[in-house]
Symmetry: C2
Subunit: 244 residues, 2 copies
């Protein structure tokens, strides 16, 4: 399994993905699930993938070879991010239809994608792309998307993130969301790839890989754990009728 | 869907279940998923069910008619809670094999059960029973079980509950766990049935139904929401290398 989340906020966007892949509990590997495409100053596109790794990698290879050949419509020459999302959808859908991938698709092991970024002069956008080839766009009401093993880490994002949240708050909430997921589910694991894109920079950030030994992560984890206990203990004592 | 959780703690046990059933988003009803069996002073058994409602109700009816007939081994005359859990497993497994229920079973819509309580003179115990008919028992290391839509509400229990937790802390953590799940997932809904069993009382508590309008729940929800925001804001600012 996999956990990826992307946030489309007023100040910019934050992307995060874990790196665990597993085929059974004894066949675990580390794979990056964050891919970038861009030209400094012109366009920055960040893509996260979840689901069948063979399918995701086939799609990424098709996207890259499209750029390398330079002729057909590709992620670096399409006029809008919506067109880019549709291209990913088309590629994913055509890969899924090939005989090697069809079996996984029917078993529910297809791939999903999050694609976000900005083309110079256009608004910053974030899309969730389904393997069927269609996509939806994040809005001010729904500023984040998750793919993969998303349930454990959803409540903290639901409660703490809105479109006005700062990039710092987003990083904090994402770290808690990933740490909670990793703690509760074996199939999601460290390190986390994390990338913060600032609105209108139109330049790809370097991004960082947050390892289990990262001191800031340890700091957050300790403060979160103590903070939660403190909140629960500060709650009023349940009234007597709860113990009837 | 459904969300049920049960905790086996030093001071007693706490059981909670939501009441939503749905067949599609426009066919929603309220059904109690908490069942009790007992004789005051002798034995108290509390059972929670998740999954296919027809299957769960068929199992409960078999268990009740077994008690009414009084002859064969039933929940009120079996010598141990383990035997009771095995009886539920047998009934569930035989119901699942009947032609009316088999189709659901194959599609993954079978039922799961949590059964806990105490027989006078014996230890308090909690079992999770699978539709295949086998069961596992909660331990000091793993003091709680969840069935149904359990992922949203697992991190808070993972972080806050251990075998030594007080019944008050358990009620608080369960309310947060249920409220988080209900907020993130349409298929789990209020009211919640909640029952606190005190160790060695061997008498069934009345239990309460916590409605969305319960003042203590509102209190908890507000304190939790404010508390979470406060923790996130008290976190140290992420270091510069997070924004490279």
């Amino acid at each position: 399994m996999t956990y990826c989340a992307a946030l489309n906020l007023k100040e910019g966007m934050v992307f995060a993905s874990d790196t665990r892949t597993n085929a059974g509990v004894d066949h675990i590997s580390t794979f990056k699930k964050m891919y970038t495409f861009g030209v400094d100053g012109e366009r920055s596109i960040i893509m996260l993938t979840a689901g069948n790794l063979a399918t995701s990698q086939a799609v990424v290879n098709l996207l890259r070879s499209g750029i390398a050949q330079g002729s057909a419509p590709n992620l670096l020459n399409l006029p809008s991010l919506f067109d880019c999302a549709m291209l990913v959808g088309e590629q994913a859908s055509s890969v899924a239809k090939t005989s090697q991938h069809r079996a996984h698709m029917q078993e529910g092991f297809g791939s999903n994608f999050l694609l976000g970024g900005q083309i110079n002069g256009q608004p910053q956008e974030l899309y969730q792309i389904y393997q069927e080839g269609n996509c939806i766009s994040a809005t001010e009401d729904t500023p984040f998307f998750q793919i993969g093993e998303s349930k454990y880490g959803k409540p903290i994002l639901d409660r703490s993130i809105n479109h006005e949240s700062s990039l710092e708050d987003a990083v904090r909430a994402l770290l808690v969301s990933f740490d909670s997921t990793i703690r509760s589910n074996l199939s999601v694991g460290f390190p986390i790839d994390l990338m913060v894109y600032r609105r209108n920079s139109c330049t790809l950030p370097a991004g960082i890989r947050v390892d289990d030994s990262d001191p800031y992560l340890h700091n957050i984890r300790a403060q979160w754990s103590e903070g939660l206990k403190a909140i629960l203990q500060q709650f009023d004592v349940p009234p007597d009728y709860y113990f009837k």
